[in-house]
């Protein structure tokens, strides 16, 4: 029996009945009176100087209300991290990738807007195009941004301990190089927004975003508006996975066009534009050298990584840091050296995507650990358990594993998959493999340097009726955060879930950094809990005075007031309440004092009952440069076991089953935790087997659709067995921490290790398409013959 009345259960999500019946409103379902439609002119060339832009024909087209270019938008630089603001709303001197934004049009309908875009004349002077890391770093390569010579967007160099000295003591040193491919998040709802500027100079932006707060700041900064005049509202969002975690040109263009025209302006990306905008997972090339003792003890990791960044920074600085820092755990690793480089080239920018920066690194290393285990004749599980950290351990780069159910996760998947009965006993063509991983439970610092709270929450009781209204600017993007926070509020306040109403995703409700870095459950959750406790205290204080009972001797549970003493006489309060509600058929008659009555009395005594909550992390470890990326109040972790069948004649892989255990601290909504685990596995499986954004030699995406960019269908997904391992995270609300991203970490390496188990060939490049697997098998056969 749970000690909780609301959390740690399977709650039906409050948004899903509307989503099941088609009533839930997403951005493209909205329209406003007099709304105009916007369209973007985007560069057809990957690298070119803009010689001349002539918008006159477009402006003269009937139905066109505004045409804007850099001349109208200004040249204020923006981006994700203030350290690398390298974008302007519209290109002014040159274009840097196919899809770079040049102009925007607002017109009476979409057809007219698109036609107007086609009438804008741009004269380009083509520049040499660089599409790969190698070309971009070559001597004399064309430079994308003058401020960044050599096309090096960012580089990181760090060393913890002394790697070379440690290698001298190692019995086995192993080096491998691994490469993933540029991914697309392939959320099903393309980005879209509606901007509406009113006569008082207030701008409201409705947008499919994960981060209303950051969008608000960027819009205000770029368009030079007082931030108090900018409101960002998020309707239901068809997922984001990191790509909707920063302001985009659609949002900025729509705002500018609305300001120019005084009308609401709607803009959407089509699917091709979603791919062209990019901002999803980078392509990483990792070279890792790991040194171990004969008994399997990990001593040192030397790691070099190159990130194929695309034309702008986006989240890239954080990405290049994460790619190194997230290998600090979950194994005891005393020495770690990292050199990371993020390189610009003429492709769409890459950014943050589920498992930010850590997924390919984890895949590379966990496969290498299996290779080491094999050479040392230690089982992969034993090697991992031998080196595993425990709760309270701190990594060499100062990440504090304040809770860590890693060992429990390994045992859970071992049992759940019947590993021992299968490992080493499967016929050729069938394989089983495992891997571990962990991830931050919220970035320790905001994207811009600030002492801001990461989340603020206001809970107000309805003046009558005892319903708690929760206002949070956090972003429900499909992960179930609204329900999670309603549950936390109900639990902390002591009322039933149905007595909570929650509104979210609106910058007018406060500050919340939004849905990224798996931060909301822990961070917003804390703020919700604090606000609920504040409300609870206020109600109890009034009751205390009215009934002359100390606050400490009262409790609220299940929307009822409990008293430690017997025979507390609250009949006076009840009589007052009932008198106020004459004619009502649901007045309390006998039984315990209800929260409804107590809340009404509190209002009558002191006015509206409003509680506030806030959260920012306590001081986190790490004083070195870059310590802000990777440090977090808590870390979620997981282990997975993949079982596969490989058709060795064709190279086709079938994933038969995935067993996944995740330590999410205390599970608030069990169903939602499982949902995040299953979704993570599916995204990892896609990246492992199918996904790659491909370009032609002119920098154009050649598979900018969901037919040729292949995400898993229902037929590709195996049964996923999820096992929740609960720890009690000391820094989490009710002990809760992340699940949304950590759960993707082990999927790719578990599949890689299972494929090796099936065919006896190691593959160090993704995706594992039939052709890549087949060719690897052929190569290995050739190798054996010679």
């Amino acid at each position: 029996m749970s000690e909780y009345t609301v959390i740690n259960s399977r709650a039906v999500r409050r948004d899903t009945p509307d989503k099941a019946s088609g009533k839930a409103v997403f951005i493209d379902d909205m329209s406003l009176p007099g709304m105009l439609y916007g369209a973007l002119l985007q560069s057809p060339l990957a690298h070119a100087r803009i010689v001349r832009i002539d918008t006159s024909k477009a402006r003269n087209l009937p139905g066109v209300k505004s045409v804007v270019t850099a001349a109208e938008a200004g040249l204020i630089k923006y981006g994700v991290s203030p350290a690398r603001y390298d974008e302007t709303l519209f290109c002014h001197e040159k274009v840097r990738y196919v899809g770079d934004d040049i102009a925007a049009v607002a017109a009476v309908d979409l057809e007219t807007a698109i036609e107007a875009v086609s009438l804008i004349e741009v004269e380009y002077e083509e520049l040499p195009v660089v599409l790969t890391i190698e070309d971009a770093m070559a001597e004399g390569a064309p430079v994308l941004h003058n401020e960044y010579p050599g096309n090096i967007c960012a580089e990181v160099h760090s060393e913890f301990g002394n790697v070379e000295a440690a290698f001298a003591n190692c019995d086995l040193i192993k080096t491998t190089t691994f490469k993933n491919k540029r991914q697309d998040a392939a959320f099903i709802e393309p980005q879209g927004c509606i901007a509406s500027y009113d006569h008082f100079g207030n701008l409201t932006l409705y947008s499919s975003t994960q981060v209303p707060h950051y969008v608000q700041r960027t819009v205000a900064m770029v368009l030079k508006l007082p931030i108090g005049k900018v409101r960002v509202v998020k309707p239901y969002v068809g997922a984001g996975f990191g790509i909707k975690a920063s302001a985009n040109p659609l949002e900025l263009s729509a705002c500018l066009l609305s300001m120019k025209t005084g009308k609401p302006v709607k803009m959407n990306y089509n699917r091709e534009q979603v791919f062209q905008y990019g901002r999803a997972r980078h392509q990483f090339t990792h070279t890792m050298t790991t040194g171990v003792k004969k008994d399997g003890a990990l001593l040192a990791l030397k790691h070099v990584c190159y990130l194929d960044g695309g034309a702008y920074s986006s989240f890239g600085i954080a990405t290049v840091y994460y790619a190194g820092s997230l290998l600090g755990g979950p194994y005891k690793l005393p020495n770690m050296k990292y050199d990371g480089y993020r390189i610009y080239n003429n492709k769409p920018a890459c950014g943050a995507m589920r498992g930010h920066g850590g997924v390919a690194a984890r895949a590379c290393w966990e496969q290498q650990l299996d290779m080491i285990a094999e050479e040392l004749k230690i089982s992969p599980i034993e090697l991992r358990l031998k080196n595993m950290m425990v709760a309270g351990d701190v990594t060499c780069n100062d990440l504090n594993m304040s809770s860590l159910g890693m060992k429990e996760c390994i045992e859970a998947v071992q049992n759940g998959s019947e590993w021992s009965a299968k490992k080493g006993k499967l016929p050729k063509g069938k394989g089983i493999g495992m891997a571990c991983g962990f991830f931050v439970s919220g970035a320790g610092y905001p994207i811009y340097r600030s002492d801001t709270y990461h989340g603020t929450v206001v809970i107000k009781l309805t003046e009558d009726g005892g319903t708690a209204l929760v206002y949070t600017a956090s972003a429900e993007i499909g992960q179930g955060s609204d329900t999670t926070f309603a549950m936390i509020a109900a639990e902390a306040l002591g009322i039933r879930l149905e007595d909570v109403r929650l509104e979210s995703g609106d910058t007018d409700f406060g500050v919340d950094l939004g849905a990224y870095s798996s931060r909301q459950t822990l961070m917003t959750g804390h703020a919700v809990k604090e606000a609920a406790e504040d409300v609870r205290q206020k109600v109890l204080e009034v009751l205390s005075k009215e009934l002359n009972v100390p606050v400490g001797e009262m409790d609220i549970r299940n929307s009822l007031i409990g008293f430690k003493q017997a025979n507390v006489d609250f009949s006076g309060l009840r009589t007052r309440y009932v008198k106020e509600h004459r004619g009502w058929t649901d007045n309390p008659t006998d039984g315990p004092l209800t929260f409804k009555e107590a809340a009404r009395m509190a209002y009558l005594a002191i006015g509206s009952i409003v509680g506030t909550g806030k959260y920012k992390p306590h001081e986190l470890g790490g004083k070195y440069k870059g310590a802000a990326v990777g440090t977090s109040p808590a870390y979620g972790c997981s282990a997975q076991i993949a079982e596969v069948t490989v058709d060795e004649e064709t190279g086709q892989i079938t994933v038969d089953k995935i067993t996944d255990a995740h330590d999410c601290g205390r599970a608030i909504n069990i169903t939602s935790v499982e949902g995040q685990m299953e979704g993570s596995v599916s995204m990892g499986l896609g990246e492992a087997l199918f996904e790659e954004v491909k370009f032609d030699n002119k920098g154009r995406v050649i598979n900018a659709d969901l037919a040729e960019y292949k995400i898993p269908t229902m037929l590709d997904m195996p049964e996923v067995k999820t096992i929740i391992v609960e720890s009690n995270e000391p820094n989490g609300p009710f002990g809760a921490k992340e699940v949304g991203e950590g759960a993707i970490m082990p999927t790719i390496p578990a599949i890689l290790n299972a494929v090796y188990d099936a065919i006896g060939v190691r593959i160090h490049e993704l995706p594992l398409t039939p052709e890549r697997v087949y060719m690897a098998i052929q190569e290995a056969k050739k190798g054996k013959k010679t």
Binding site: I114, L689, T713, D716, E771
Partner: protein
């Protein structure tokens, strides 16, 4: 994604459709299931001025199995092919192709005529149909003619159809008793995939169990679905066994002319032709010896 502008025609008879085509010729395009054409029009690859929908011509939706032919109307949907007992019983390799085409949502719209008429080198239905020796029936105001599918495809998107003709029907000749066919396609994922390679094989045995006739058709490895002629030659007159099928597979690989593209290399496709040829021959042999 807005569609370009066009005039829309929805004839009720083949003759009416032929009249419209006679009037507009190459400016017109036939709309059947739309799963290919709508996409090409949205991408502005095609912008026909006249669109002639043939989905309200009842006779084009018929399936008729007689002693000497199975006749499939051009607007018979791919979903119908999957579900039809007659197709399953007589043309199982075609049913297999149909089951692997697109998605259930696409199969409910897409038609057999469209899958052939669009002449995509990776299409699922042409290889099994060619393996069964099917022919296309083309109608115009000047009458009807039949073209063996072997001669129907001219290049990606190009066929022997003239601008004023409509593909009205696919005819598959009744198959000899001891015959069978198999179809296998390979893609990257398990549904909704453009094929990397697809192969259909047909064999007919004589009373002594010797291969009397063989047709092997390879998709994705040439501008049109290709016959593996030298592989067929290897088979004819021989007693079927795995070694023979492996040799035929190797020959089929040599018969194929794939190119490197973003979906895969020519080398891989060639090797897969070999594997799929052997595997489809295994299926075909099994069917030939287990047919009712």
């Amino acid at each position: 994604m807005l569609l370009p502008k066009f005039d829309f025609h929805e004839p009720k008879t083949v003759n009416e459709a032929c009249q419209i085509l006679a009037e507009y010729g190459a400016k017109a395009r036939i709309l059947a299931g739309g799963t290919d054409l709508m996409v090409n029009m949205k991408k502005k690859i095609l912008s026909p001025q006249q669109l002639v929908s043939i989905s309200r011509i009842p006779e084009l939706k018929n399936l008729e199995a007689s002693a000497d032919h199975i006749r499939i109307g051009a607007c018979f949907t791919v979903a119908d092919l999957c579900e039809s007992d007659a197709i399953q019983r007589h043309l199982s390799a075609l049913a297999e192709g149909a089951k692997n085409l697109g998605t259930p949502l696409i199969r409910n719209l897409a038609t057999i005529g469209g899958n052939i008429g669009s002449a995509r080198p990776a299409a699922d239905l042409p290889p099994p149909l060619m393996a069964y020796g099917a022919q296309a029936v083309l109608s115009s105001l000047s009458g009807e003619r039949t073209v063996p599918l072997d001669q129907f495809f001219l290049g990606p998107g190009f066929t022997a159809m003239k601008p004023d003709e409509i593909l009205t029907e696919i005819q598959v000749p009744a198959l000899p008793a001891s015959s069978g066919a198999g179809y296998i396609n390979i893609g990257v994922r398990k549904a909704q995939d453009c094929n990397l390679v697809n192969v259909a094989s047909f064999i007919a045995l004589d009373a002594g169990g010797i291969i009397q006739n063989a047709r092997i058709v390879m998709g994705c490895v040439g501008p049109i679905p290709l016959r593996a002629r030298s592989a067929e030659k290897i088979l004819i007159g021989q007693k079927p066994d795995t070694a023979l099928f492996t040799r035929a597979g190797a020959a089929a690989g040599s018969d194929s002319t794939p190119i490197d593209d973003f979906r895969g290399t020519a080398a891989y496709k060639k090797d897969m032709v070999g594997v799929l040829t052997r595997r489809t021959l295994d299926i075909a042999f099994h069917k030939a010896t287990h047919r009712q």
